[in-house]
């Protein structure tokens, strides 16, 4: 049996000029969000017979609607969540009408899933915020709206659902709409459209309801088909982050990437943001032939008139309207992993096509997503949002997020786990970095070192408390002094009496402790001094920060490896006894983790040799590396 073929008109419609709208839906299961999306798919005929048969079976097993088909089950995908009756992740749905195709990001509404909502919102142009007509504007409504606003969404549909359960009353709907508009006024939405509907029965979703004659506005689908979200991306300044340098042969050198904003034409003068080098666009190359122009969203390959040094990560723009270039900026940051954000710790950030090391230099305040209040904070946990200052290892080209969602957004990557730890939106560049110029001194590090007949370095002893770090470091310094070397010894306990007496033992304070010590040690290295540092320094990432402060070969990590049991047995200061009794919180090895070095320059096993032998090994290592002369 063959299905009748649709008319030529229907076919023509399906291939006609159609636009794409990406939107997200916010709300909890209780608001009927899954039911609403199920209704849109069902009413736009995106549900096939075999899926419907599976749905009828599922409705009897998992459904909450008795004998009726539970449309929510159309979209609640993973087994785990079907059993738990919750949506645990961002899901994407697709449907189309004659006028538009739609990509729906379906995001969960629970507080702990701020992360998912931000993810869904990052690529959406419009948000459908669901409200249960019986409950009105709730805390979660405010949270959803704030996150949408934060991620740059400017169009909102307020879907007042379950209108049947308030007897289709206009005054109930009006009260909710007014309360919402009052709350949302400072959030910068360009347009808010409120629609009374019932997802379960289909009123005002795709078809107009005669039970809501007082509603003069569009149905949800009518609005989604008609709303104009055309961003002005094409008329904004031209930005092309270079993604790939295409060199099939010596005669062709193309710069491939997706245009973030603006328009480019052959003959345009362009500038490389970082280096300031300029050239002109020769061709816009595609497999379908050269183009006369290309605009925001197009993936193209440009060739230039001159040989200019350009690599992945560079940003091309027109000379008259360039992005900012700086290694410091202020941003809003959403934290997305369990491991807390620690200011001073080294992370990677990826912005457009560039990935660089970065640290948060200050956490200005947290933002309460429910009340929008500013709160003081020293660290940031999962699903928390803050305003921060960021410093990157190299200067980046960027725009404020409010001006450009492509060149103003970045993700934060954890260097240990490679997890996506956070997402950021740039507020503005910081000029601080450009206004403080380094004072160049006439006598440099090499000169100072030569006078001392040695090469300076940081010799960093790390290990558990009572592992023997300080004892060994002390003996190493005695041996070096005897050979006429210039040294300095920085020790954990001593530094905490002075420079770092304001710091405690939380993770955040430990990071700051090591950062300051690293900076001091670096000054000693500049002075040409071999600097011995004896610190528990439990975290790999902070040790790496110190390593990155000085030049190659100027940081030697010495892992003083003693088993915890040996340290506890030794316990010269009685600290383990107290820590094990619960009297000292955050004690490394007991109630706070120690991350052993992955590739130390030297490992000293304290159970296998005497302190004397271990100290000799360190001195030997310095000889081998040419830091001191052999005697």
């Amino acid at each position: 049996m063959h299905a009748p073929l649709p008319s030529a008109v229907a076919l023509a419609e399906s291939v006609a000029e159609k636009s794409l709208l990406r939107f997200l839906t916010c709300g909890s299961v209780d608001d009927g969000k899954s039911t609403l999306i199920g209704r849109l798919l069902y009413d736009t005929k995106l549900v096939f017979d075999d899926q419907l048969a599976a749905l009828e079976k599922d409705s009897r097993k998992h459904g909450t609607t008795g004998e009726a088909i539970d449309l929510a089950l159309l979209v609640d995908g993973l087994e785990a969540e079907r059993e738990q009756g919750i949506t645990i992740d961002v899901a994407y749905r697709y449907f189309a009408t004659a006028k538009r195709t739609f990509i729906v990001a379906d995001t969960p509404g629970h507080e702990q899933y701020t992360r998912n909502m931000a993810t869904g919102a990052s690529n959406a142009d419009l948000a459908v915020i669901l409200i249960d007509a019986r409950k009105g504007v709730l805390t979660q409504t405010k949270r959803h709206s704030f996150i949408c606003s934060l991620l740059g969404i400017r169009h909102v549909v307020l879907a007042v659902n379950k209108i049947d359960l308030v007897d289709y009353r206009e005054d109930a709907f009006d009260a909710i709409e007014q309360a919402y508009r009052a709350f949302a006024a400072p959030l910068g939405f360009r347009e808010i459209t409120a629609i009374p509907l019932s997802a379960r029965d289909g009123d005002n979703v795709t078809t107009r309801s005669d039970r809501l004659p007082w509603h003069k506005g569009p149905t949800l689908l009518e609005h989604l088909e008609a709303v104009d979200v055309e961003s002005d991306a094409t008329s904004k300044p031209f930005r092309l982050p270079v993604q790939w340098v295409n060199r099939p042969n010596l005669d062709f050198r193309g710069f491939a990437g997706t245009i973030s904003s603006g328009t480019v034409r052959p003959g345009d003068e362009i500038v490389v943001a970082g280096s300031g080098k300029t050239s002109r666009v020769a061709r816009i190359v595609t497999m379908d032939g050269d183009l006369a122009s290309a605009s925001a969203g197009d993936s193209v390959t440009l060739t230039l008139e001159d040989e200019v040094d350009i690599a992945r990560g560079d940003v091309l723009s027109h000379p008259a309207d360039r992005p900012e270039v700086s290694n410091q900026f202020a941003a809003r940051l959403i934290w997305m992993q369990d491991e807390r954000l620690l200011p001073g710790r080294s992370y990677l950030i990826k912005l457009a096509t560039r990935t660089v090391p970065a640290t948060v230099t200050s956490l200005k305040h947290k933002i309460d997503v429910n009340s929008l209040d500013h709160l003081a904070a020293r660290t940031l946990g999962l699903n928390e949002i803050a305003e921060v200052n960021v410093e990157t290892g190299a200067a980046l080209a960027f725009d404020p997020y409010a001006d450009n969602r492509e060149t103003g957004a970045f993700i934060v990557i954890d260097r240990e786990t490679n997890a996506t730890a956070g997402a950021g939106m740039i507020l503005h560049g910081l000029r601080r970095a450009t206004n403080i110029h380094r004072q160049a001194s006439s006598v440099d590090k090499a000169t100072r070192a030569r006078l001392k007949r040695q090469k300076p370095a940081i010799v960093w002893f790390t290990g558990l408390s009572a592992s023997g770090k300080s004892t060994i470091a002390n003996l190493v310094e005695v041996k070096l002094a005897a050979r006429g070397q210039h040294t300095m010894l920085l020790d954990g306990d001593n530094v905490r009496f002075g420079l770092n007496k304001d710091l405690g033992f939380t993770d955040a304070d430990r990071v700051e402790n090591v950062r300051r010590i690293g900076e001091v040690a670096k000054l000693f290295v500049d002075a040409g001094v071999i600097t011995l540092c004896s610190f528990i320094s439990p975290f790999e990432s902070e040790r790496r920060i110190v390593r990155d402060l000085v030049g190659d070969g100027e940081f030697l990590e010495i892992f003083v490896d003693a088993p915890l049991s040996a340290c506890i047995a030794r316990d010269p200061k009685g600290l383990y006894k107290r820590a094990l009794a619960g009297e000292i919180p955050n004690f490394t090895g007991v109630s706070s983790p120690y991350e052993p070095p992955k590739a130390p320059e030297l490992t000293l096993l304290t159970t296998e040799a005497s302190v004397e032998e271990l100290a000799d090994r360190v001195v030997e290592a310095l000889e081998q590396r040419g830091l001191i002369e052999r005697v």
Partner: protein, 301 residues
């Protein structure tokens, strides 16, 4: 980019961006080429992404030895026409053990010849990223799949441990042994794929077009007898019917549909009138509820 509607242009540009990102950030990527319409579109996009250069990665086909003969012919012709490296991997251990859809059933056959075969090939060549042509609209459990799907060193997929994907910023970092499966067609629908094939004149396997073919009816599905290896039940006689395939796979596991659609225009028209989803023809999905999710956890693409 000329004759495409706005939304297809957008999908095309986004897929090209994803393909270039993988080539830029991974040490040793590969494109899984399964010969079907989605693979054909993905390959076409890869050709566009690097033009005038060739894609800087090889194609990999995990051959279960039960694909339609026309698929294998089309595969070899395509690689030759485009001048691309094609790696064909067969799980020889499975062949020795005599695993087949006929003798072992769809579950065991798919697990051994497809899932295990894929793992073998990825390990053998040390690929750290593999493109696949899967789309999110194919099946419910795919709706939450990331564009960059992270796999452990054992090729495991943990739905709770996937990275959030914001904007178009993909986190491509993996440790040695870990890998990423990349789905550049994530946001395409079946209709998008066919309309793009039509607009871009992309060659596809002739099995998609209606023709008289010898089929037998089993468990409600029309199975084409592509060669003598498919044993006939007592009294069963293949009949010639005018059929075509909506999806392609191992021939004993792929149901045909009655159809007169002999051109791309016909296929699109037929699909607009269709009342069943494309996966209906795939016998491996209906084994049990949530079966796709289960297969993915085990490393199925």
């Amino acid at each position: 980019m000329s004759g495409l509607s706005t939304h297809l242009k957008r999908l095309e540009a986004e897929s090209i961006q994803i393909i270039r990102e993988v080539a830029s950030e991974f040490r040793n990527p590969v494109m899984l080429y399964s010969i079907g319409k989605d693979s054909s579109v993905m390959l076409h996009l890869a050709m566009k992404a690097f033009y005038p250069a060739k894609p800087p990665f090889p194609l990999l086909h995990v051959d279960t030895t039960w694909k339609f003969r026309e698929m294998i012919e089309f595969r070899d012709e395509t690689a030759k026409r485009l001048g691309l490296d094609l790696i064909v991997h067969i799980n020889e251990d499975g062949v020795r053990r005599g695993v087949s859809p006929v003798a072992s059933g769809s579950n065991v056959h798919t697990q051994v010849m497809k899932t295990e075969g894929l793992r073998q090939a990825l390990d053998k060549y040390g690929f750290d990223a593999a493109f696949g042509g899967a789309r999110r609209d194919e099946e419910k459990s795919r709706a939450k799949e990331r564009v960059f799907s992270f796999r452990t060193a054992n090729h495991g997929w943990d739905p709770r441990n996937q990275r959030p994907e914001l904007w178009r910023l993909y986190n491509t970092r993996v440790k040695p042994g870990e890998s990423i499966r990349v789905f550049p067609l994530s946001n395409w629908t079946e209709l998008d794929v066919w309309q793009y094939v039509l607009a871009e004149e992309i060659p596809v396997v002739p099995l998609y077009f209606a023709k008289e073919r010898p089929v037998v009816r089993r468990d409600g599905a029309l199975i084409m007898r592509d060669d003598e290896r498919l044993p006939l039940h007592p009294g069963e006689v293949p009949e010639l019917r005018r059929v075509r395939f909506r999806t392609l796979g191992c021939y004993p596991l792929t149901g045909a549909i009655d159809s007169d659609a002999a051109s791309l225009e016909d296929i699109i028209a037929e699909m607009l009138a269709s009342t069943t989803s494309e996966r209906q023809g795939r016998l491996i999905d209906s084994d049990e509820a949530g079966s796709m999710e289960k297969k993915k956890r085990e490393g199925y693409f």
